[in-house]
Symmetry: C2
């Protein structure tokens, strides 16, 4: 083993790899060979391909769907509540020096939940932008209650996937022209989402509004995004009642995170944005450091 | 013109036709040539095909998406509130004696909505099973406030389409075995749907529950159906606060209507079920009678 390590974020549809040496990122690569898109190759062969030319005898730490039952090897979920320190001490080895970081699960009568990959971002986020409430938007947005030591609870809202499905596969999106970015349309949708008690009833109205000419046909995507995110944020805040004197950390690309930030602001919460890759890198680094000790 | 008429229910994906003479149904036919599936044929040719052998000089009354901007000819929406009597007096003729029944619309700051086809079922439902609240489940479930004279307001919940999308195109349905009918799984989902304030957060948990082994993989469809219908009914009842001493009329096939009936029963409402075709036939008949007078 050298003092370096390779960090792999291996999801369903993508693979991203970083080579670190002496605390510095020496190279980074991406591939579309996500766990569901291996095209007949073995995970070991894909890993060898994406790391070709990088040092051989170096620790590899992988997070994400690579540890699911459709992945390389099942890395059992750690049940919550869980101490952050347990995550790095429960690695699943697939080959000598090549390990998968465990996902987290919740099994309660009021909440069945799982995550894979976000636990690594959370490890970094609590170092870089501590908060009692983390939001990790994306296809399946995670809401996480944590302090500096433990992850207590989390929930998942499939807002990103729903937006995609509704725009691409439902009647809402049929026959629409190219969509445009428009903050005002987002805000208009968010206004509905924040206040409605019947979000599913408002979805059809997105179509009715543009059929009747009350919503520009180019603005449907933004309006729907506002409606879904507005409802997500309002319902999760109502359910968890977080202290609005504490910050909320939103872990995502700036453009996505700022949508949550706008809605949180309307509800009187101060959000700090942390870029997802930064959180992931910091999380992997803390595990690499712990393993090296 | 003879004393008979032909009733056509022409939706997006199907066409159904009935020939009535002297108040009696003489023949019925169905076709998959819905408005979005004409396969290059003109609507007039499809109509001629489905009615071949039936009397020529007979009134034809059509309802549904045939009157949309993707249909034969646009039959303008009647804005609500609207008197039931106006529906039959605002027909749009496409050829002599061949008419389209108008759809209904709502344009308010708190509700943009449209329906096509259900207005004809409502015409029949108020005769056969009067109630102040009608529910017309299906791909896009309609909730309608009406009395014997007028339709006051309606909303649409795309519960059927969402169930289909989530089972067939989202992560929830990936890799599931054949699904089974199971009333207990429906009730379990309905229990969640009836009480949750964050229905979109509970959708992902449907997947998590079967991944973690807390929900049989054959029961996902029923459980999801319960969750969606439970939330739909609870949120619409909360929003509209109907009088639970009055009946609710559910217009649908028995198997679908009984799902709504079960959930309404839990909330203390008495539902009467009216089969959708019966409602449609009675609605068309009342228009045919009005036109003949």
């Amino acid at each position: 083993m050298t003092s370096g390590y390779i960090a792999i974020d291996w999801g369903s549809t993508n693979l991203r790899a970083w080579w670190y040496q002496a605390g510095e990122c020496r190279d980074r690569r991406t591939s579309s060979e996500g766990i569901t898109r291996l095209g007949g190759k073995s995970p070991a062969a894909v890993l060898a391909g994406i790391t070709v030319g990088w040092p051989d005898n170096i620790r590899v730490l992988m997070a994400g769907m690579v540890g699911s039952n459709a992945g390389w090897k099942v890395a059992p979920y750690l049940p919550c509540p869980v101490h952050f320190s347990e995550i790095g001490s429960q690695l699943t080895d697939v080959l000598p020096g090549i390990s998968i970081i465990p996902g987290l699960s919740i099994r309660r009568s009021d909440n069945d939940n799982v995550m894979r990959g976000e636990e690594t971002q959370l490890l970094g986020a609590r170092e870089l932008a501590a908060a009692p409430l983390f939001i990790l938007p994306g296809t399946h947005c995670k809401w996480v209650q944590a302090d500096n030591e433990q992850i207590f609870d989390f929930r998942t809202v499939m807002t990103g996937e729903l937006h995609h499905l509704l725009m691409n596969s439902s009647l809402i999106g049929v026959g629409l022209p190219e969509q445009r970015q428009d903050a005002a349309a987002f805000e208009r949708g968010a206004g509905i989402g924040l206040t409605t008690e019947a979000p599913l009833a408002r979805l059809f109205e997105v179509r009715a509004a543009h059929v009747l000419g009350d919503l520009p046909r180019e603005d449907v995507s933004e309006y729907l995004s506002g409606l879904l995110i507005g409802h997500e944020v309002a319902s999760m805040i109502r359910q968890w009642q977080p202290d609005n004197r504490q910050p909320v950390t939103v872990v995502a690309s700036h453009s996505l995170a700022s949508r949550y930030q706008r809605v949180l602001d309307i509800l009187g919460f101060k959000a700090q944005i942390l870029e997802g890759d930064s959180a992931f890198q910091a999380g992997i680094r803390s595990i690499a450091d712990a393993v090296a000790d």
